[in-house]
């Protein structure tokens, strides 16, 4: 049995240690926010936070998450409060098909957690997830908007 905490809730899963975290989340724990796009850590649609750090869960064996804290898009809103990044995403109408967006949002939240006021260059470096619909311009705008959101609004 492997224990891990997902969005604040403890789980015990009986799976192979090499099973990717993404598939444990999706198929075992029914956490469908993280998406499958490539399986080789290229696209980032599966991005979740492992102890606060963004990881591509398709390429993280679940054993590496044992005893750790996993945060997915479903756990981002706190005490009924939208995260400022989610709010900025809605305000700026960022998503199109939306399939990559939970990964994009988790990557953006991680960026803002370590860099409260990122420059365009910082955004370029941090936001490497693929979006086929081409929402990049609005992702950039929304990250800047979230950075400017009042402190009290931040989760």
């Amino acid at each position: 049995m492997i224990e891990l905490t997902v969005n604040g809730k403890k789980h015990s899963v009986d799976v192979e240690p090499e099973m990717p975290l993404l598939w444990v989340l999706r198929d075992v724990l029914d956490v469908k926010g993280p998406k499958f796009g490539c399986g080789i850590a290229q696209c980032g649609a599966c991005t979740v936070h492992l102890n606060g750090e963004p990881v591509r869960s398709c390429s993280v064996p679940v054993s590496a998450a044992a005893g750790q804290k996993v945060l997915t898009i479903e756990g981002l809103a706190q005490r009924g409060q939208l995260h400022p990044v989610q709010k900025a995403w809605i305000d700026n109408e960022v998503p199109q098909c939306g399939y990559c967006q939970s990964g994009q949002i988790m990557a953006a939240v991680a960026l803002l957690a370590r860099n409260a006021n990122p420059s365009d260059k910082d955004i370029d470096a941090a936001m490497t997830n693929i979006c086929r619909c081409g929402t990049y311009a609005r992702i950039r705008t929304a990250i800047h908007a979230a950075a400017k959101a009042p402190k009290s609004a931040k989760a």
């Binding site: 981002l76 199109q96 081409g134």
Partner: protein, 724 residues
């Protein structure tokens, strides 16, 4: 900050433009418009009014990011005169569409035509429902309906000032006869159409609650991973699954003629086990095919003297070309491209007691339903295709329903158990219905003033219409049969004033499957047409904008968008040293588009795009912010394709597998895109696809201006160029 408990969320999403109701009905029972509860009154197929004045507008087509799930209901709401904040949108049931004699009509989102093709009946549905609600109120008050007006979900009787909400008269209205003729609003009276309305599906997406086909979860569901023959058209010769039998979670290994499936208790186990299944493929006749052999095949189309269909013939090209002193000839090539939807192909199905339930991300629920029924051997009425959002479509999930066929084949083999089949990215890249490769020969003759007197194109490519959708290729492209309209799109209908034009099509149907890829023929032929037009301008020693302008005097809409875009881009104004411009103009999907690229190219071949100005005239602009989003997205889609996109073949197989060798543009490469929305009204044009058309030629024409090198084939990586 808003509270976002479920209850509050419905309110807040309504406040920004309606919540989203997606019904995943209970297994075995058809989810017929799941949101409908007791007391809800269906005024007509499109409009349901609740006793509490909530409005449900049904949406028949698909949502894959193009925004039509918001803009199509806007058209209904405009005429319904309802409170948009109380509108919820739900998918019309594909099963109900069968049973109710296609009450919702065409369910496909393809060809940028959701708005274009349904705008009239959607607006009429809204107007009809409004008239019925008004009539019901008038009957209740015993006054003439002509004394009543409707606004914001209320009906008012003018003389007595009495007021009643839609919810109060909805039940009575639903029992009335629908009026035969309704008058639609004059566009100048529109309140909702033309305003930037928030997309109704976005809050669910941002909350991680949006459900795609891949997210289907059913009790007792099994999972399948599949391997298809690496050479198109091949079959399973022999299969040995003994190595994985008895392995943890493995339920069954299936040999299904053209593919092998492993069924397991989760998808990862199925996928891992599939690698240990030994499959001996009969690859068929194409095991030695390569990109080079395919190119020879297309070249045979350029050289052929017979079986050439003429798509257009104005005047006498041969005579004019022969008589001219100044001639140009060039060959252009555009490659096969994969769709690479972020959500790989997949399908969940359960076939039990003669009933079939299917969950899949589809651009055409009716086609999915038909393919599912035929595969299972059950009547159409016994099938439901449950609707979900699509993780990208781009044409992949419309015409070809291969994934539905496979999903149902597996479900049939698993006898009553629900099975979710999902492809790997590698399967997705290597088993697409690709944007056709196309080889085009161009010729033109110029008079002494540099104006074209003769223009010739011959296109050699695989026909999507004959190979995928099996439509007869016929006139209006007379005199010959055999012109695929997509193959010659934007070339055969060139709007420029040229007296002698001949456009020919050599159908060369290769074994590589082809399909509709966002913007289809307009994703490749404008590169040919508008680059060659630039060659003519250069040969004439004229400014490329002025050259086009002179030739478009008789095509006012093309001319207008060309001029509007050039003006916004500051065409002709001074640029910093090393920066150059390129321009292009096209028409397609009922809209007119133009692009100006402003860029520099350094000695390492890095192309820095400073600005990309994209103009569009879609006639009526229904949801302007969404149109801007579509054009921004079009820039990413086309820049990805033109710099890196190329599917190549060796030993009959596609060489590319995943995003590590089939490169996608990233955020850091996104140039500044400026959208010039210049709607002139009077017609309804598409917005999801036409924005791409002018981009490749505008960028390549700017590269010519910067380097003197004329680009005649894509992608640009093969010319040593990359996007900085």
């Amino acid at each position: 900050m808003k509270n976002i408990s479920r209850r509050e969320f419905l309110k807040s999403s309504a406040a920004i433009g309606g919540g989203l109701t997606v019904g995943f009905g209970p297994l075995g029972a058809f989810a017929q418009n799941a949101a409908q509860k007791t007391g809800d009154a269906e005024i007509n197929a499109w409009v349901v009014v609740r006793p509490d004045d909530g409005i449900i507008i049904r949406y028949a087509r698909s949502e894959m990011g193009q925004g039509s799930m918001t803009s199509a209901p806007m058209l209904v709401a405009e005429e319904l005169e309802c409170d948009w904040r109380r509108v919820k949108v739900e998918y019309a049931s594909a099963n109900a569409n069968v049973k109710r004699k296609r009450a919702w009509g065409d369910m496909a989102s393809v060809g940028s035509r959701t708005i274009r093709n349904s705008q009239e009946y959607l607006r009429k549905a809204g107007a009809t429902a409004r008239e019925m609600l008004v009539a019901a109120a008038a009957q209740q008050w015993k006054v003439p309906a002509s004394e009543c007006t409707a606004q914001n979900s209320f009906i008012t009787h003018g003389p007595s000032k009495r007021r009643v909400s839609y919810g109060k008269v909805a039940d009575a209205a639903s029992r009335l006869q629908a009026p035969k003729d309704v008058k639609l609003k004059d566009p100048k009276d529109w309140k909702l159409i033309g305003k930037s309305v928030k997309r109704i599906d976005i809050p669910d997406t941002v909350m991680g609650r949006q459900r795609y086909g891949i997210d289907t979860q059913l009790d007792g569901m099994l999972y399948a991973a599949i391997a298809q023959c690496p050479v198109f058209g091949g079959k399973v010769k022999a299969m040995d699954g003994s190595r994985v039998e008895g392995r943890r979670g493995i339920v069954k290994v299936l040999s299904m003629e053209s593919f092998v499936a492993v069924v397991a208790d989760n998808w990862w186990r199925a996928k891992e086990a599939l690698r240990d299944v030994h499959i001996d493929w009969d690859v068929g006749a194409n095991g030695n095919a390569s990109s080079a052999s395919l190119m020879e095949f297309y070249r045979s189309g350029l050289e052929a003297k017979e079986d050439i269909a003429v798509a257009r013939k104005d005047g006498d090209f041969e005579a004019a070309f022969g008589a001219s002193a100044k001639k140009l000839e060039a060959e252009y090539f555009t490659p096969y491209l994969a769709h690479s939807c972020m959500e790989p192909m997949g399908c969940t199905a359960v076939l039990k007691d003669g009933r079939l339930d299917v969950w899949t991300s589809t651009q055409n629920a009716e086609a999915s339903l038909a393919v599912a029924a035929a595969t299972a051997g059950v009547p159409l009425e016994n099938v439901e295709v449950h609707r979900t959002q699509l993780g990208g479509g781009f044409g992949r999930r419309g015409g070809a329903q291969d994934f539905v066929r496979q999903g149902v084949m597996i479900a049939k083999a698993m006898e009553g158990k629900p099975v979710k089949m999902l492809w790997t990215r590698e399967e997705d890249t290597q088993h697409d219905f690709y944007r056709p490769a196309s080889l085009v020969r161009m010729k033109a003759a110029l008079d002494d003033a540099g104006n074209p007197t003769a223009w010739y194109s011959r296109v050699a490519s695989t026909s999507i219409f004959s190979t995928l959708v099996h439509l007869p290729l016929k006139p209006p492209f007379s005199p010959a049969e055999g012109v695929d309209p997509q193959a010659v799109a934007s070339i055969f209908d060139i709007p420029h004033s040229i007296p002698n034009v001949q456009v020919e099509y050599a159908q060369r149907n290769a074994y590589v499957p082809v399909g509709f890829w966002r913007t289809v023929g307009h994703s490749q032929n404008p590169f040919v047409r508008e680059s060659f037009m630039d060659e003519l301008a250069a040969a004439a020693g004229k400014d490329p904008f002025e050259y086009r302008r002179a030739l478009l005097q008789k095509s006012p809409k093309d001319l207008a968008i060309l001029e509007a875009t050039a003006k916004a881009a500051g065409w002709g104004s001074p640029l910093p040293a090393g920066v150059f411009r390129g321009i292009a103009e096209t028409e397609g999907y009922g809209s007119y588009t133009s692009a100006v690229a402003e860029l520099s190219v350094n000695k390492n071949g890095e192309v820095s795009i400073r600005r990309l100005v994209l103009g569009i005239d879609p006639g009526y602009a229904v949801n302007p912010d969404n149109i801007q989003a579509q054009l921004q997205g079009s820039a990413v889609f086309m820049l990805t394709a033109m710099f890196w996109g190329e599917i190549t073949l060796r030993d009959g197989r596609v060489e590319q597998t995943n995003f590590d060798n089939y490169r996608m543009m990233r955020l850091r490469e996104m140039p500044k895109v400026e959208v010039v929305l210049a709607p002139t009204g009077g017609f309804w044009g598409g917005v999801g696809e036409p924005g791409q058309a002018s981009i490749a030629p505008a960028v390549c024409n700017a590269i010519f201006a910067a380097t003197g090198k004329r680009i005649r084939s894509l992608p640009l990586k093969n010319h040593g160029l990359t996007l900085a």
